[in-house]
């Protein structure tokens, strides 16, 4: 980005892509996208270390590894890091990197806002981690931070937690505005909403949710900070406040947050499956509109987290039925994905394995989700390990498998290098085995009577907990092949062509990695995003091995 006149004549042509740009206030959406992804993966490793510490403690029924106080801090910060510093920003990272490329735009609608949104994340994350070292320790009231407990346990840790979430929430809102504006206003001429790749639909749906719900969380946390620091009584019952109001405000954001975390990956899976199955997506409109349906329904289901709280019966029944209805659009997606790969010509590489793994694991979380929507059953399992199992099947089996699939799929585009396939498969097998060993038995623990967020438990559960802990260790180890693979391949991997998967969405029409401003001139769209095996305008499609960028897009010189 250095002005040309500053270059010394005769000097060696500077590296067109110096690595330093990743540490700069770059406004290039591709740089920002990678900044998001690398930062969030760094926090994923921290969150994973915290989770492993939690599982080490739970390997035995007694409190023997960390103190009870530290244990509560560990799971609180684990959840906060994984949600607010890994899955949400990683989804935003893919959104940043892919949306402009997919819709044929040169950048996001608001590039500077985009950079500001990203640069809120590192300080917020470091602040949160640093809170372990303040005298009262990190926040220890769970990631839900329910008052009155959050008002009486470790004031400074709690305040830092609030501050950190406010920063991350603001970052998320800025990102949401940017995604929605970019998708709605900056599509290439000729690309209607119904010609967009499904990832863009999913990001649009997620952005709607971010914009509708995140401000409510911010409101709740500001009021909570007043109760905490200024002695007000919005939620503090000793001053006449109502702790249940906090729960309503918190979940008004935090249930939609689940969809904010899963919708981008729904979108990514809808891209990855057709490419590697060599078939059009099955039921484009159904999958596109079901994202919007999920996003709207997602706004009216929050109190299903409060079935055993101060919730009157009619509310419990309303939220039960509303929650059940969400299963319908979600089912449409799952069946659509299964039908997409049915009868295809599957290329079972790491990206595809993780994508199929996503469908497979997410279904388990979806089925247990319908079960816990049922009020009488939820009254039994609420706040137990059944819920812990359910949420990890959705957020790890779903979101994290989806993120891995997306990383394997788009890594060549982002870095210009291929990832190593055999190590990718080792990573997949370790992740799948470790994940199921860790979380499947937790359903049983919850049903049998083990509550969540406990450092000690009834010794009758010790065997099953030991199995879960072994699974978590495998899961911890599973990140190593990926990490080594990613670092090695980024530096010295096999060079990637512009379109190594022979895909039809627009990001594959430009070089890997794409040039600054992505497209030269004003490209014209010639094909749909999922036109695999389709005869176009009377002429039969060339064999895909000979597919050129000009078959997808014209007017682009690259």
């Amino acid at each position: 980005m250095a002005p040309a006149e500053l270059r010394t004549p005769g000097a060696i042509e500077p590296d067109p892509e110096p690595w330093q740009r990743f540490f700069s206030f770059s406004v290039d959406h591709k740089v920002i996208g990678i900044q998001y992804l690398v930062t969030s993966f760094f926090f994923f490793l921290i969150g994973g270390a915290l989770a492993t510490a939690v599982r080490v403690e739970l390997a035995t029924p007694e409190v023997d590894f960390v103190s009870r106080e530290l244990y509560n801090q560990l799971f609180t910060i684990h959840a906060t890091v994984m949600i607010f510093l890994w899955i949400v920003p990683a989804g935003a990272g893919f959104g940043n990197y892919l949306i402009p490329l997919m819709i044929g735009a040169k950048d996001m609608a608001f590039p500077r806002l985009n950079a500001i949104a990203f640069w809120m994340i590192p300080p917020a994350g470091l602040l949160l981690i640093a809170s372990f070292f303040v005298p009262t320790g990190a926040a220890a009231a769970g990631w839900t931070s329910y008052p009155p407990l959050s008002l009486v346990s470790g004031q400074w840790g709690e305040l830092i937690w609030i501050l950190s979430i406010l920063l991350l929430g603001t970052s998320s809102i800025l990102g949401g505005i940017n995604f929605a504006a970019t998708i709605l206003k900056m599509r290439i001429p000729g690309m209607t909403l119904n010609d967009m790749p499904l990832f863009c639909w999913a990001m649009l749906a997620a952005s709607i949710l971010i914009l509708m719900s995140t401000p409510v969380l911010a409101g709740a946390l500001v009021l909570l900070s007043f109760d905490l620091m200024a002695g007000t009584a919005f939620f503090n019952p000793t001053g006449g406040g109502d702790p249940i109001v906090y729960q309503h405000m918190f979940w008004f954001y935090s249930h939609p947050a689940v969809y904010i975390m899963i919708l981008p990956l729904f979108g990514a899976i809808s891209e990855i499956l057709p490419v590697h199955a060599r078939k059009p997506i099955f039921g484009y409109k159904a999958i596109a509109y079901s994202s919007i349906a999920i996003s709207l329904l997602g706004l009216i289901v929050w109190a299903h987290h409060m079935f055993t709280s101060g919730t009157p019966a009619w509310l419990r029944m309303f939220f039960m039925i509303a929650t059940m209805i969400i299963a319908v659009p979600t089912g449409i997606k799952v069946f659509g994905w299964v039908a997409t790969i049915w009868g295809g010509k599957l290329r079972l590489n790491s990206a595809m394995l993780f994508a199929i793994g996503f469908v497979s694991m997410f279904v388990v979380g979806g089925l247990s989700g319908v079960m816990i929507a049922s009020v009488p059953f939820d009254i039994h399992v609420h706040d137990t390990y059944f819920i812990v199992a359910h949420l990890h099947y959705v957020l790890f089996g779903g979101s994290v498998f989806g993120l891995y699939a997306a990383l394997y799929h788009w890594f060549p585009k982002m870095t210009g290098r291929m990832l190593n396939e055999p190590w990718g498969k080792v990573h997949f097998v370790l992740t799948l085995v470790g994940f199921n060993l860790c979380f499947l038995p937790m359903h049983y623990l919850g049903l049998m009577g083990m509550p969540r967020r406990v450092a000690e438990y009834d010794p009758q559960f010790s065997t099953v907990n030991a199995i879960c802990s072994i699974g978590s260790y495998i899961l911890a180890v599973s990140t190593i092949p990926f990490l080594v693979n990613a670092v090695y391949s980024w530096v010295a991997g096999e060079k990637a062509s512009a379109n190594p998967w022979n895909a039809l969405t627009l990001e594959w029409t430009v070089s890997s990695p794409p040039p600054e401003h992505n497209f030269v001139g004003q490209p014209v769209l010639k094909t749909g995003p999922y036109d695999y095996g389709v005869t176009k305008r009377g002429e039969s499609r060339k064999p895909i091995s000979q597919l050129k960028a000009s078959d997808i897009l014209s007017g682009s010189t690259r």
Binding site: V63, G310, I341, K345, S374, P376, D383
Partner: protein, 333 residues
């Protein structure tokens, strides 16, 4: 893609259905003992949902595994698969079937929730106007009780009376207070405080739940009931235990560092055992004024009682309001 209708598919469908039904009937190893009159209904609901979930799980996983095995790309084949973009009848089918299933589960859940007492207007928030009447019974008890009890101005949310006993007072009321990190059980009719919950088998028991400091949640896994204890807002549970035994009472809402240690037990006792327990916590009960309704309170050493507690017995007998005694108290001194 045509909806497959070969004999083989049919057989697999039948097999899948049978496996699902079998799993749905054999869920008992996944749940602890069922110990109240309505808890088997919750289990049946779980069994029904497990049947459906097993079927859908096998269907999706079976399709995925079959696709991985059957539809692998042949080496050297660089062509695309068939350009199938959708199938409207199939899509309608897989929209309608989950919708019907969800509706069915909702109706079933509603029914179970009703039989658990969830829709009792006294506990559901529907009958605010009648709340005062409901609180009447506990209001007298409250004067004997140090714990803040229901004032009668606010409906206690939670599970109320089962449809068969709505409008009737429970056989036994216990005030349950959660605090960091213990449950305290107060028997207002007995003026007894205990750290374990003793209930007679087969009796309609109402727990009036409160919290002193932070949120807690009262959970008996074997009863399949759970209710948060909320500072400043009364909640309640009502149940009829059917299986004598000792069951854990677990705090299920994070309440601080010793949250995992906040456990006690419920003892479901035969009437004889329960009477024996009542007698054991009040050893002098028979020695004074047997036959009087309030013998239990009189049996306590008067020195341990406050004036209003001591006089409460007489106020009950004479029909004098506690309030008026309280007004007299300073003058008497």
């Amino acid at each position: 893609m045509n909806v497959p209708s070969t004999i083989l598919t049919l057989l697999m469908g039948i097999g899948l259905t049978l496996i699902s039904l079998w799993v749905g009937q054999n869920y008992h190893f996944l749940l602890p003992v069922s110990a109240t009159d309505v808890s088997p209904e919750v289990d049946r609901l779980f069994g029904a949902m497990l049947t459906i979930a097993t079927g859908l799980f096998l269907l999706v996983q079976g399709c995925l595994i079959y696709a991985i095995l059957r539809f692998r790309r042949k080496p050297g084949d660089d062509t695309d698969g068939p350009p199938i973009r959708g199938n409207i009848p199939l899509e309608i089918l897989w929209t309608a079937i989950p919708a019907v299933i969800c509706l069915g589960i909702s109706v079933f859940s509603f029914d179970v929730y009703n039989s658990m007492g969830g829709l009792d207007p006294m506990a559901s928030g529907a009958g605010m106007g009648m709340a005062h009447h409901h609180g009447h019974h506990t209001a007298i008890a409250a004067t004997l009780d140090e714990a803040p009890a229901m004032t009668g101005t606010e409906v206690a949310l939670g599970l109320g009376a089962a449809p068969g006993s709505q409008g009737q007072a429970p056989d036994l009321q216990v005030n349950v207070q959660g605090l960091q990190y213990a449950w305290i059980f107060n028997y207002p009719d007995l003026n007894v405080m205990a750290g374990e919950l003793h209930v007679p088998v087969g009796q309609d028991v109402q727990l009036n739940i409160s919290a002193m400091d932070v949120l807690h949640a009262f959970w008996i896994p074997q009863f399949r009931i759970k209710q948060d204890a909320i500072p400043g807002r009364p909640t309640q549970l009502r149940f009829r235990a059917t299986q004598p035994g000792r069951y854990p009472i677990v705090c299920a809402e994070l309440c601080g560092s010793f949250h995992g240690a906040m456990r006690t037990e419920v003892l479901v006792q035969t009437p004889e055992e329960y009477e024996a327990w009542v007698a054991s916590v009040m050893p002098e009960a028979e020695t004074t004024e047997t036959g009087q309704g309030s013998a239990v309170t009189l049996a306590q050493n008067p020195q341990n009682l406050t004036d209003s507690e001591y006089l409460q017995v007489y106020s009950d007998r004479l029909g004098i309001e506690t309030r008026s005694i309280a007004q007299l108290a300073p003058a008497a001194l």
